[in-house]
Symmetry: C2
């Protein structure tokens, strides 16, 4: 049966997020139907709701940091049963046969992964709808198991903010003996501090305001460097093995690249824009340094990250809201006024009439 | 004794390279005195002669692709004796105790390597003078042994153009099964084709003119791609494991980054300028790609490269000139009118009176 369910959707670039009846597809044989209980609010949600990436198909139901419970499963589903606590992240499908999919890196699917919202279903061509909704239907291959030990509310943002920062730290093999710096202390940055610390690195936060120092320390930073202070920056020149730059707006990379050690790597996880002001290539050449990028993580690695979080008692620092407060939340996020991720209590959607 | 020797030096930014009497330092106990027989002409020579990097100390004697024979050695020199064929590259000294020096990466000496010309001697503070000269005095630690099998004339540019392209191919472990592209077919680019081929890679040249295709094939390219042809570029999107970009002027990196496979790396060895037009960071993020830089190579690796060349019958393609033709050579180099490196027959300097 086709389900007409409660969802919050943006219906145009200028409108706020509004109530909208959305049709979920009929569950297929490999599908898991999930009642959504919590959904994190990611910066991408704002970009997509407002069509800032010029690819939004309206109505769009944002949300890709989803935690919920299984309500039913298709007959070919083996790993989940009703009642299980599960998560869904940024992807709900991929081609499964290209080199990237075979390598467990579905986010780089050469035939383009199907994203959780504003994507196109590979089988029936319908548009995918995200987590600002009472339920979602997802192939079991893209469902994550929530470890029992993790609080479901504060685990929600792990599905995007968590894996986005965990994956590059793992790919570049960060651990004991490494000096790691994090740029930006938002949803991604605060997770980067926690993960880098848990992996055994010596962790520094770059900040533009020393008022963030106590928070940074609480979150795992061993050091805080004021990036606007020339002396402090000079003191860490050629210092870091690895920099995780989580800033989603254009900013000058050169002062950070200068703090990388020879053979060090700076990884961008927030920036998708042209690099301006221009990067000074001499900074790369003179120390065999690298500037790289990283995008979320594969499904197996996302599960590994959730298990790592359970093992190390790591979750996001969240502020709970009701779905009716989503527009205020967007406004506050744009002012960086959130510590560190809004999570929607999706129970609040039940008060809306279809 | 202090030696007053024949050299060609630029005496001001506007002048051409002119004859100038230069004082060589007294040989120290660890020094090797070398009669210079051949000296390659590197693009850096032009930059420095014309003070384009704003750090030239006049008079400057360019030249850091030096081949010659030992004429005398200090009493603590163990590895060289008069008559030996030797080479000197871009560096003549480094601190020897920092982490980079300890790792055999003197080019990244944290206390700054002493460059072969326009550098400052670490012991007596005198300015270093390069290879456009009848002799040079160098600590044996920075002297390379020329394998017998290599032709001295065409080996000279290996000391800069050779090691600059060999080192990144080795550091990024290029070999069989890798798809490698080279950008630019000059002194560096033609060596990159030879090395990448000898290492077993499948090699492509990116060019802006298909007239270079036969030459590229002769030098080792398996494929030639016209970088101005949108269809050809599209056909190699997400294709290469590794790109070696040898172009020394600002150019658009984005079309090349688009041809890197997931996890691929593009290494700059020619560019020291700000990256303009701006690099699109999305190209890095969407495929976990890296943009990196590399600078010449360490002394041990330079010796390894010379030995590799002897083993694989690799030298540079050179055009011999007399020192008196250096200005015409510079003019032609700026028009890319050389295949692929000028080498000065330094015997020609003997006709000049001191």
């Amino acid at each position: 049966m086709t389900m007409n369910i409660r969802s919050f959707a943006a219906t145009s670039a200028t409108s706020p997020v509004a109530l909208h009846a959305i049709i979920r597809r009929d569950p297929r044989e490999d599908d898991v139907v999930i009642k959504i209980l919590y959904c994190g609010v990611c910066h991408s949600d704002i970009h997509q709701a407002r069509n800032e990436w010029h690819n939004t198909i309206y109505p769009v139901v944002p949300g890709h940091e989803i935690i919920g419970q299984v309500t039913s499963v298709g007959k070919n589903v083996n790993h989940y049963k009703p009642g299980d606590w599960v998560g869904v992240g940024c992807m709900v499908d991929s081609c499964q046969h290209c080199a990237s999919c075979q390598d467990g890196l579905e986010q780089f699917c050469e035939n383009v992964a199907t994203f959780t919202y504003n994507g196109k279903d590979r089988h029936d061509g319908t548009i995918t709808y995200g987590g600002y909704s009472e339920s979602i239907v997802v192939s079991e291959k893209f469902v994550l198991r929530l470890p029992e030990k993790l609080d479901p509310k504060s685990a929600a943002p792990l599905l995007c903010a968590g894996i986005t920062t965990y994956s590059p730290l793992r790919y570049w093999k960060i651990g004991k003996g490494h000096k790691v710096a994090v740029v930006g202390l938002g949803g991604l940055g605060h997770m980067a501090l926690k993960f880098a610390k848990a992996l055994g690195a010596d962790v520094t936060l770059f900040t533009r305001s020393m008022s963030k120092a106590p928070e940074a320390t609480r979150l795992g930073a061993d050091h805080v460097v004021l990036s606007t202070d020339a002396d402090q920056m000079k003191a860490v020149s050629n210092h870091f093995d690895f920099i995780l730059d989580t800033v989603p707006q254009q900013h000058d990379l050169n002062p950070y690249l200068a703090t990388l050690k020879r053979d060090g790597t700076c990884v961008l996880v927030g920036l998708l824009e042209p690099v301006e002001p221009p990067m000074n290539s001499g900074l790369l050449v003179m120390g065999r340094k690298s500037l790289a990028g990283s995008l979320i993580g594969g499904i197996a690695e996302t599960q590994e990250m959730l298990n790592f979080c359970a093992q190390h008692n790591i979750t996001c620092d969240v502020e709970m809201i009701n779905i009716q407060e989503i527009n205020q939340a967007y406004t506050r996020m744009l002012k960086s006024d959130v510590k560190y991720r809004f999570v929607i209590d999706m129970k609040s959607i039940e008060t809306e009439s279809l």
